[in-house]
Chain length 282, copies 2
Amino acid sequence: MGAPLGRRLLKAGFSLAVFTRTRSRADELLAAGAEWADSAAELAERVDAVISIVPDSPDVEQVYLGPVGVCAGPGQGGLAIDMSTVAPGTAVRVAEAVQQRGGQFVDAPVSGGKTGAEAGTLSIMAGGDAEAIERARPIFAALGKRVVHCGPTGNGQLTKLCNQIICGLNLLAVGEALVFAKRLGLDPKTMLEAVSAGAAGSWAVDNLGPRMADRDFAPMFMIDLQQKDLRLALDAARLRTVPLPGTALVQQLLTANQAAGEGREGTQALLKTLERIAHVHN
Amino acid sequence: MGAPLGRRLLKAGFSLAVFTRTRSRADELLAAGAEWADSAAELAERVDAVISIVPDSPDVEQVYLGPVGVCAGPGQGGLAIDMSTVAPGTAVRVAEAVQQRGGQFVDAPVSGGKTGAEAGTLSIMAGGDAEAIERARPIFAALGKRVVHCGPTGNGQLTKLCNQIICGLNLLAVGEALVFAKRLGLDPKTMLEAVSAGAAGSWAVDNLGPRMADRDFAPMFMIDLQQKDLRLALDAARLRTVPLPGTALVQQLLTANQAAGEGREGTQALLKTLERIAHVHN
């Protein structure tokens, strides 16, 4: 996700410095005019606003709190925006460290995937105080089409977890309908067309349905990452003893995909688990 | 659903005769210019096209095959359109009876609810031969915005069952996200706004989410009817041994609503079951 976000920022006229753990992944942005920084700490010294997007909570903690992380350099009152999807508690811990150094922190996970990042149409779920979020708005404007202030630090992450609860069940909805359609003799694409305009309509029907029907399992969003997000949602729910029976079912079915070595395929490969349990052969 | 469909047809310039089991339910259409028929048989003799919409399979069988049903009058080669959601096998049986009398039959269940019926924006899922469906198109044009020919007789019903599988799980998605949001301290409507524009977007998020947040459980579509539809879907799936774990879960959770006496509330009252199992008090 870092590359398309960087491209959007360059296109909007921002100057950009980048640090990635694997330097080759920055090649394209460097060729497009971004500068290289040798660490998060060095990068933080050179910019007005740090933007991070990494896979999981420990990665964010390392980017901000590690020995060469954002908070290891001299304090500067800068703005830090974390667009990763991580534990709400991680957002709170990192925000405290940034604020202790005079900076401002916004947790701002996104929905819309690589396609949304490339088109600048992401939904951005922002947590933090209003002043920090106002300061981040010119950056958000280059990256997303909807920016919602969800409350204090961590609420961006909690809102993203709601988003993932819904995405998981909407995905299961399309998968079950397609397995049913196939076994009952319906044409999958005709079925999708018929249901998409009514009360069954969803982003998942429009975007994952046709890919399932075409057996195109290339990732828009990988199962391993969806599972990480569902783990965060179920962890947060467990801490408050909130039962989420549907979300837990989705998480178990996607675990069956991971068991079959399909963790790096797109979430629409859930269809393959549903077909295996229904003994559907293609 | 009969009343708004009748109003749309009158508005489009069709002349209309109506028969309902409870005559008072036709009062408004009669006042608006429709004629009364004393039975389905009598109605069928007077019109070019019969349109039926009733709650369940036995009701459709009675309307067409009963002693004063459509097929009890003299044959006339008329068109019969059943817009009810019923078992695919019922559609096949009724179609055979209509065709034996020289008529044509289309199973054409709809999605979009009372709101869609009033606005003429229903999705219509039509099963039958192409000639019958072409004959029905002027009628469909007055009632819906999307008409999809889903294949031979019964495929309209099977497609509607796919629709209901998706609706059920999309409903559970919104309910689980809202219970999670509430217990984790998020503002429900802000959460819904943040997720609705991205990959979690759905008709259910847009239409059932705000009603859940407002605790407005008035029916757009009653739980008892959704349960009838899920029963039809799970019956059809069982006959082909198709496991639908998510759909079965939704059906069980809505059974808990029925146990609590909430069967005549809107499907969004699923939230109340999720709150009871999470011990959320309002």
